[in-house]
């Protein structure tokens, strides 16, 4: 049994077999197993050898047909190795004598043979060490639970173990079979974590080297609530986590009745709770789960799933679907936020930013690719005919950028009008505030837009100069940093002056520890991952605005992250205590 501590990125407990993603090299940990498990490991070895034989037989047939008998001989030789009884027996000996798991025993035996062989072989035979290597990898692949199988075609439940998961990989996830994530890199707000929360799948990130501690195919526990991963759990541990899993499910069930209750504080202030989504269909589950609208639809995920930008019709169909799923509720479409960690293949080919988060990303990219941007906006404006659609621009740093974006919207509307294509003529336009520059100039921006949404993830990253995906500095990333909080206060103040509506859609919105603080700062609208909505609503329904304001006043006097967090935790505990 191995226990590892990471960062809890998405709550809940998952127990399933591990599937190691994208392992180029098979790094197999040295570990021993219980004597009682040796027959199982031997069966695994035999099944994997047999499965490898079947593959090689098929390869041999194909090779004979395509390349001739002579080349196909190689596979006949591989087959002879795979069926070699003496090789099998020496691996079984290692399993029985040293209690190694099958993968480790087989890897050891093959390594030893390769080393010995290299030491004596002449030039001609030396090449054959490659065949041994090839055979080794083939068998390990089978032992380690088909590590390279396409994750789109899963047939049984797994927990994904990976160094990192790119957003484009994440959009292809088969939610039915993926029960959890254990990831080397990342923090609470890396995209992987956001996606996991969105999908309601337990996840632990920032585990450093979990991929080398875990062997594919073994049972692991992911405790996303406490940020713990356990490999190969013993009976007692497994029972304890099954208990915890039930408790979490009970907690979720307990919150369920809140779905139909309004988000109103004890002193009668109504708060609007919306959901963040990445995929059109999520609008329906979010609204059904109690969201009053979609505060942030990250449309770039539609682009990431494809190699080239989707056509206008493709985008239109997807946006129209989202409008339908939103069932008449507000739907805020954010124009594509690509670049940095979210790239299309065609973008990679264009050039490379040494510092992508400060490079050509998001709206900047759109303003340099006008044809693509116009197509994108056309699709949005057309979809707006059927519902309450709003359009929002991300990553703005200057007023000129905002004005450019807005005038492009006007151009696109004119084009649509001339062509006689129906579109939403009065779509509200808004901007995200996620750079200190925009926050500090809020009053200059607020007069131009219909609404403002605070993106605390990027705002924190840019204010504190911390890459949220870099595990070496992730501990410095804190949205509750006094610096970030003062910027949020400025943003709210600037919006109030022009009566521009303001909401907050970063990860902070969904973390109940911040709810009272955010209300106290003056926010009345929050947008978060749908699974977090009821937790936040519970806090809102048990607090008063006057108390929240007192909390915010106190917090703004602190000068260290730690003080803020401790105080907020205290306040939340008091609230939870009084509710019981």
């Amino acid at each position: 049994m191995i226990q590892k501590k990471g960062i809890g990125a998405s709550p809940g407990v998952a127990i399933a077999t591990a599937l190691i993603l994208d392992t180029e090299e098979f790094r197999i940990p040295r570990r021993t197993i219980d004597a009682a498990q040796t027959p199982h490991e031997i069966r695994v070895l035999e099944a994997s050898l047999a499965a490898s034989c079947e593959e090689v037989k098929a390869l041999r047939v194909a090779a004979t047909r395509k390349l001739g008998e002579k080349t196909a001989e190689i596979f006949a030789f591989h087959l002879a190795i795979l069926t070699d009884k003496r090789l099998r027996n020496s691996v079984v000996d290692l399993i029985e004598k040293y209690r190694y798991p099958a993968a480790y025993a087989f890897g050891q035996e093959m390594n030893r043979r390769q080393r010995e062989f290299r030491a004596v072989a002449d030039v001609y035979l030396k090449e054959r060490v490659r065949d041994l290597y090839d055979i080794e990898k083939r068998v390990l692949r089978h032992i380690l639970g088909r590590a390279r199988e396409d994750i789109r075609n899963l047939t049984q439940p797994v927990i994904i173990v990976a160094h990192d998961v790119t957003p484009s990989q994440a959009v292809t996830f088969d939610r039915e079979h993926i029960l959890g994530f254990a990831i080397n890199v990342g923090g609470q707000t890396s995209h992987m974590s956001i996606i996991a929360r969105m999908l309601g799948i337990p996840a632990v990130v920032g585990l450093n080297d979990i991929t080398s501690d875990i062997t594919g195919g073994e049972t692991i526990v992911v405790d996303g609530t406490n940020g713990v991963v356990i490999a190969d759990p013993d009976g007692g541990t497994l029972a304890r986590f099954r208990q915890q899993q039930l408790a979490y499910k009970a907690h979720v069930a307990e919150l369920a009745p809140l779905r139909d209750q309004p988000a109103v504080t004890l002193d009668g202030q109504t708060i609007t709770l919306q959901a963040n989504i990445e995929l059109a269909e999520e609008a329906r589950t979010a609204i059904d789960g109690g969201a009053e609208g979609i505060g942030l639809y990250r449309t770039e995920f539609l682009f990431l799933a494809n190699e080239r930008p989707p056509t206008e019709e493709q985008q239109y169909e997807v946006f129209r679907g989202a409008v339908r799923h939103a069932q008449g509720r507000p739907l805020t479409l954010r124009t594509i936020d690509l670049g940095a960690d979210k790239m299309m293949r065609s973008m990679r080919a264009e050039g490379h930013d040494a510092n992508p988060t400060l490079g050509l990303r998001s709206l900047r990219y759109c303003l340099q690719h006008l044809d693509m941007f116009k197509t994108h906006l056309r699709a949005m404006l057309r979809a707006a005919v059927d519902g309450d659609v709003r359009i929002m621009f991300p990553m703005i740093t200057t007023v000129i950028e905002l004005r450019q974006a807005m005038s492009i919207v006007s151009d696109v509307k004119e084009d649509l009008e001339e062509e006689g294509v129906p579109f939403g003529a009065h779509v509200p336009l808004g901007m995200m505030v996620e750079t200190p520059a925009a926050a500090l100039l809020m009053s200059s921006f607020a007069r131009h837009v219909d609404f403002v949404s605070i993106g605390t993830n990027d705002l924190t990253q840019y204010t504190l100069a911390v890459d949220r995906g870099n595990e070496r500095v992730a501990h410095l990333y804190a949205s509750h940093s006094p610096a970030v909080l003062r910027l949020i206060r400025e943003i709210i103040k600037g919006c109030k002056r022009f009566k521009t509506s303001v909401s907050l859609c970063g990860e902070m919105a969904g973390a109940r520890i911040y709810t009272q603080l955010l209300l106290g700062l003056g926010l009345r609208q929050l947008s978060m991952a749908a699974p977090e909505l009821l937790e936040v609503k519970q806090v809102i329904r048990s607090t008063r605005i006057s108390d929240c304001e007192a909390i915010a006043r106190k917090v703004l006097r602190f000068d260290a992250d730690r003080q803020v967090l401790n105080y907020l935790r205290e306040q939340l505990d008091m609230l939870d205590g009084s509710a019981e």
Partner: protein
């Protein structure tokens, strides 16, 4: 009746014990119930194991000591020697 048999033979074919010769050796030995071992310098291989035969690293001109043990030991040893002598028919 168990008999230990020993013969010596020199690898005749140009490429030595590579894929095809190894497979032919494994096939040939598989027809007999005797245990046949091949030795080159200090390295010993069970002739029924493709892996061990490869590890023997026997090349053209290598001196191979063939021993056989058990039923049909003579026949098995002869068959192996003949196969190697003929350069595996290559």
């Amino acid at each position: 009746m168990r008999v230990a048999v020993e013969r010596t033979v020199v690898i005749a074919n140009k490429e030595g014990l590579h894929f095809r010769p190894i497979m032919r050796l494994v096939d040939t030995v598989g027809k007999y119930s005797a245990t046949v071992r091949l030795q080159v310098e200090e390295r010993v291989a069970d002739a029924s194991s493709a892996m061990e035969l490869l590890m023997l690293v026997a090349t053209q001109g290598s001196m191979v000591r063939v021993t056989a043990d058990g039923d049909q030991a003579d026949e098995a040893a002869d068959a192996v020697v003949q196969l190697i002598d003929n350069g595996f028919g290559e």
